[in-house]
Symmetry: D3
Subunit: 116 residues, 6 copies
C-alpha cells in the first residue's frame, strides 16, 4: 500500500480546497513508489536519505515514523542510511538526522510504546 499513512494537516486541507492538486500529489506518489525493480521499502529508505541530506526536519521525522510502522525498519537500518548522509552531505546534516532519530526513540520510551 503506497498511500501516505501519516499525511499532514496541510494535505487534508488541500484535498478539500484544491482537489486537482491533491490528486496530482497522489499520482506523483504512486509513480514514484511503483518501482519496477526496487521494492517499496528500499525506495522509502532512499527518500529518507534525500530528506536527511536536505536537512528537512519535518520530512525526516515523517519518513522515519512511516518507515518503522509500515515496514518494521530497525534503528540499525536507519543509521545505515545516515552513514551515507554523513559521506555525501556532511556532518551537520548527519547530526540533525541522528538527533531526530534519538528524540523519537526518547519520546517512545516516555510513552512506554517501545516501537523503536
Amino acid at each position: 500500500m503506497k498511500e501516505e499513512v501519516f499525511y499532514s494537516k496541510g494535505m487534508k486541507y488541500i484535498k478539500e480546497d484544491y482537489p486537482d492538486l491533491y490528486e496530482g500529489n497522489v499520482s506523483l506518489n504512486k509513480v514514484a513508489y511503483t518501482g519496477k525493480a526496487l521494492d517499496y521499502k528500499t525506495q522509502k529508505l532512499i527518500a529518507l536519505g534525500i530528506n536527511a541530506a536536505f536537512s528537512d526536519d519535518r520530512a525526516i521525522k515523517k519518513q522515519i515514523m512511516s518507515s518503522m510502522q509500515e515496514f518494521g525498519t530497525t534503528k540499525d537500518e536507519i543509521v545505515d542510511v545516515f552513514r551515507v548522509v554523513l559521506l555525501i552531505a556532511g556532518k551537520p546534516a548527519f547530526m540533525k538526522a541522528i538527533n531526530i532519530l534519538y528524540e523519537l526513540e526518547d519520546d517512545e520510551c516516555v510513552c512506554g510504546g517501545g516501537v523503536i
Copy 2:
C-alpha cells in the same frame, strides 16, 4: 570491497600531496559503507539518490558507473532511484539524472559495450 573503483584524478593528487587527508577520505568511506543492517549495494543506491537530488553531474555519473560495474545494478533499478528523486527533489533534478543515465547508455552503444 569498499574502495572506490573509479577514483578521480584529484584523489590521486591528494594521496601524494596530503596523505592525511587521503587517509581521512578512505576512513570516511569505510565508516559510511560499513552498514550493520543494509547491504553495500543498497547504501550505494542511497548515495546515488542523494547525489541526484543535489544535481551533481559528476557524482551521478560516477555512482551509476560504479554501481553497474560492482553490483550489476540494472537500468530499471537506477530509474527506480530516480523516481524517488522526482518526488523528493523535483523534476529538474530528475531530468538531469535521467539524461546522464541515457547518455551513458548511448556511449556504451557506440562502443558496442552493452554494459547497460
Copy 3:
C-alpha cells in the same frame, strides 16, 4: 513602496550596530525590486517561490504575510506559486509551504481576523 513592512528584530539591531550593513541591505532590496518590466507584486511572488523551494520557514511566512498585506494577494495565488514549487523543488518543500500557509490561516481564524 518597497521598504520591508515586517522587518525582523535582527534587522533593527543591524541598523543600530552596523549602519553600513543596514544601508547595504536597503539598497539591495531596492535594486532587486525595482524591476523594469515586471511589477513589484510579481517579483514578490517569485521571491516567495524561491524561499519555498529553499524550505525556509521564516522567509516563507514573512513573504506570505507581507504579500497579503501589501498587495492583497489571495490564497489561490499563493497556492499557484506552490504548485510550481511542487514541480521544481519536490513534495517536501511543497508540503512545508502549504502547512505554513494553512497555519497562518488558522491563526487568523482564531483571532477573528479573516485577512486570509
Copy 4:
C-alpha cells in the same frame, strides 16, 4: 498549451521505456501549471526564478528559451526575475543566470535570429 515545447532527449527515452513515468511527468506538469489565479506566464517566471536560485544551468537555459518562444518574454522581464535571485539566493546564482542569458543572446546574434 502546457506541454513542454522543448522536451529533452531523456524525456523521449522515458516515454518509450517507462510510459507510466512519462505519464506521471505530464500529469505533474499539468497540475503545476494549471493555476487558479496566476496565469501560465507568471508561473513559468516563478519556475525560472527557482531554477536560477538552484544554479541549474540546463533548466535555466530551457526555461529562458521556452518562455521567450511561448510568451514573447523580454530580456527585461527575465532580468527582473534575476534581480530577485540576487536578493534571495546571492550573487553567484545571479551571475550564472545572467551569463546564460547573454550567451543565449550572443548565440542568437550569430545566427541572425534576433529572437532575443
Copy 5:
C-alpha cells in the same frame, strides 16, 4: 584542541550504540581541522560561513557558541562572516544567521552572563 566542546545529545548516543561511527566522526573532525596553513580559528569561521549559507539553525548556533568560547571570537568577527553570507547565499540566509546571533546575545543578557 579540536574536540567538540558542545557535542550534542545525539553524538553521545552514537558513541554508545555505534562506536565505529563515533570514531569516524572524531577522525573526520581531526582531518578537517588540522590545517597545514590556516589556523583552527579561521577554519571554524569558514565552517560557520558554510552552515549559515545552508541556513542550518542548529549548526549556526553551535558554531557561534563554540567559536566564542574557544577563541574569544567577537560579534564583529561573526558579523563579518555573515557579510560574506549575504553576498554569496542571499538575504534570507543572512537574516537567519543574524537573528540567531542576536538571540544568543539577548539570552546572555538575561542570564547576566555577558559572554557576547
Copy 6:
C-alpha cells in the same frame, strides 16, 4: 581594493544595459568585503568555502584564481578551506573543489606560468 579583478562577460553587459543593477552589485560587494574585524583575505576564503559547499564550478574557479592573484593565497591554504568543506558539505562537494584546484594547477603547468 575590493573590485572584482576577474569580472565575467555577463557583468560587463549588465554594466551597459542595466547600470542600476551593476551599481547594486558593486555596493553589495563593498558592504560584504568591508569587514570591521576580519581582513579581506579571510573573507575571500570564507566566500570560497561557501562556493565550494554549493558545488558551484564557475564560482570556485573564479575565487581560487582571484585569491591567488590578489593575496598570494597558497595551495595549502586552499586545501585547508576544502578540508572544512569535506566536513560540513560532504565528499562530492569536496572532490569537485579539489578537482578544480588541480585542473587549474595543471593548466598553469602547461602554460609555464607557475602561479600555483
